[in-house]
């Protein structure tokens, strides 16, 4: 079983984002991690191959040379090897990223399944799984929190609101965009981390794969911090008094 997992190198969600200039951010000292949703896809891929008893899990990243470090932690979670398509674009547009992912996978082998995360936590695009699927002409399901693959049929579940769930069926190979609930990603142990250091990461320039990165699209025009609230107005008095003050204030401000 040949399974590919698209893994994005993104700033740690707990880290502060220091905006630089009009539309850039400072990466010095910034911790980067595997896009959290991609970990669910990776775990699912590793389990599928373990269950099949043969095959490999190949992780594919389009990102800067430093992404290799992030890829090592994905390799420690059980992936077999990695492919890195190098670009220094911090805000690579989704169409180009998808074309590069497609080219890298196609150049490497014939996928039985492709996993991604449901969204990138940096650019919040929510579209690469669909674009990659279209490029391969595969079915796709995103935001998947339960999956069963049997006899070339994948049955996938996604939440569609208020706790209701939609069950989708498709043939394999297909693209699955993973989200929380799909599984509990494993925590790599020390020997896994050591083993991951020796695993292969093949590096490509986009041009090697026939991918053209357009110069026109360099991310957002402007990047601004979301203004933080400056501190709460505290309601005074005993429980009853403070609650009344709150409700009155909300009424006065037409919030209720």
């Amino acid at each position: 079983m040949q399974v590919y997992v698209c893994v994005k190198h993104v700033p740690d969600t707990a880290a502060n984002i220091k905006i630089k200039g009009e539309n850039d951010y400072d990466t010095t000292g910034l911790k980067f991690v595997v896009n959290p949703y991609d970990e669910y896809g990776l775990e699912e891929a590793v389990r599928l191959v373990e269950k099949a008893g043969k095959g490999e899990v190949v992780i594919v990243t389009v990102g800067p040379a430093q992404a290799a470090t992030t890829m090592r932690s994905a390799l420690a979670m059980g992936a077999t090897r990695g492919i890195l398509v190098k670009t220094d674009d911090k805000f690579l547009d989704s169409r180009t990223a998808s074309k590069a992912l497609k080219a890298a996978i196609e150049n490497d082998g014939a996928p039985d399944m492709i996993f991604t995360g449901k969204t990138s936590v940096d650019t919040e695009g929510s579209q690469v799984p669909y674009r990659v699927a279209k490029a391969f002409d595969f079915p796709v399901a995103n935001e998947i929190s339960a999956l069963e693959v049997k006899n070339e049929t994948a049955t996938a579940e996604r939440e569609i609101g208020g706790g209701a769930r939609e069950v989708l069926e498709m043939s394999t190979p297909c693209v699955i965009g993973a989200t929380k609930g799909l599984n509990e990603p494993r925590y790599p142990k020390f020997p896994d981390i050591m083993k991951a250091k020796k695993k292969e990461i093949k590096e490509f320039e986009p041009g090697d794969l026939g991918v053209d990165i357009p110069a026109s699209n360099k991310g957002p025009l402007k990047l601004e911090p979301v203004p933080e609230r400056s501190g709460a107005k505290m309601m005074q008095g005993n429980v009853r008094e403070s609650v009344e003050e709150l409700v009155q204030t909300l009424k006065d401000n037409k919030i209720l």
Binding site: T13, P36, S94, V140, S145, R158, E166, E169, V247
Partner: protein, 320 residues
């Protein structure tokens, strides 16, 4: 006048409230004409409801070969055909689970740029504003492509009434093959809860809620003001609430008018999912809890004492 297509979400044959803000966003400064699409047999009723906000045409969208609702692929294909048929400059939807799914498929079919989950749009400048870095920053992005695709975060734009005359039509796209994925089943939620991302008010309980049954206290309060009930990740991880109730970076992103956080410390990952709420209230027994530094109104107290009183006071105010 440029035309904006809008994919409307209906439920049991009625237009959901969250669509009205989308129509307002689709109109811009009334510089666009809005063509609304519904995929269920409720175009006439929808036209009545949507014309109050400015949709001048409501189209029942279908496919020649079968049921458009049998696969999100069919809905996306039909929208792609509708863009041509109606000569649309913009195509908009809601950033809900179904909306995100259809627009993801649509952008792939057209190989066109697509901006998801925007909070506002400026047609004149050709830009939209959306979150980057899990709610920590706002990005102004350029709208590109011969047709501009976007989804709008529910509740991000306030609906503005703007009554117009509205006509209905039908458009059956010439698509005969089925979708690559098929909807096998919709599993209804056991509790029949209101969807968090669509709720105008949310009341959330954090880890100190202590047990699943204690959410009843919040549900009672929610009922009085038509709110939905949310949970923090610590509470979900402890097994007190299902993941579908989780607000935050790995849960749902919500923008209600009012967000009431009870027993929530105020972690960045929680705020990533609710900081665009218009007003945030915190109820916490620790006067130094970090959440008080980044919300609008605070009450120091034990949630198990404060919430029942809040329910009572809200009821009294409502009856007045």
């Amino acid at each position: 006048m440029p035309k904006t297509g809008v994919l409307i979400e209906t439920e049991n044959g009625a237009v959901k409230n969250i669509n009205y803000g989308l129509i307002t966003a689709a109109l811009g400064n009334r510089e666009n004409e809005v063509v609304a699409f519904v995929t269920q047999d409720c175009a006439a009723k929808a036209a009545e409801e949507l014309s109050a906000y400015g949709a001048s045409r409501v189209v029942r969208l279908g496919v020649a070969g079968g049921d458009i609702n049998s696969s999100p692929d069919l809905c996306a294909k039909a929208l792609a055909a509708a863009i041509e048929e109606f000569d649309l400059k913009y195509m908009a939807g809601l950033a809900t689970a179904p909306g995100r799914d259809v627009f993801g498929r649509l952008c792939a079919i057209l190989d066109a740029p697509y901006v998801s989950d925007i909070q506002s749009i400026d047609y004149g400048a050709g830009t939209a504003v959306k979150s980057h870095f899990s709610g920590k920053t706002m990005a102004t992005v350029k709208l590109e492509g011969s047709v501009v695709l976007f989804t709008l975060r529910p509740n991000a734009v306030d609906p503005v009434e703007n009554r117009v005359d509205s006509e209905t039509a039908e458009f059956t796209a010439d698509i005969s093959e089925g979708g690559k994925v098929t909807v096998k089943e919709i599993k209804a939620s056991q509790q029949g809860r209101m969807e968090l991302t669509e709720a105008p008010v949310i009341i959330t309980g954090g880890r100190p809620i202590g047990a699943p049954e204690n959410y009843k206290m919040l549900e009672e309060c929610a009922e009085v003001i038509g709110a939905a009930v949310g949970a923090s990740r610590a509470s979900v991880d402890a097994g007190f609430a299902p993941h579908s109730m989780q607000v935050g970076q790995t849960g749902k992103t919500v923008s209600p008018n009012l967000y009431i956080a009870c027993g929530v410390s105020g972690a960045v990952q929680h705020f990533a999912g609710m900081k665009t709420s218009k007003v945030i209230v915190a109820i916490n027994n620790d006067k130094d809890a970090p959440i008080f530094e980044k919300c609008d109104y605070g009450i120091v107290g034990d949630m198990f004492e404060v919430v029942p009183v809040l329910t009572e006071v809200l009821r009294e105010f409502k009856d007045k």
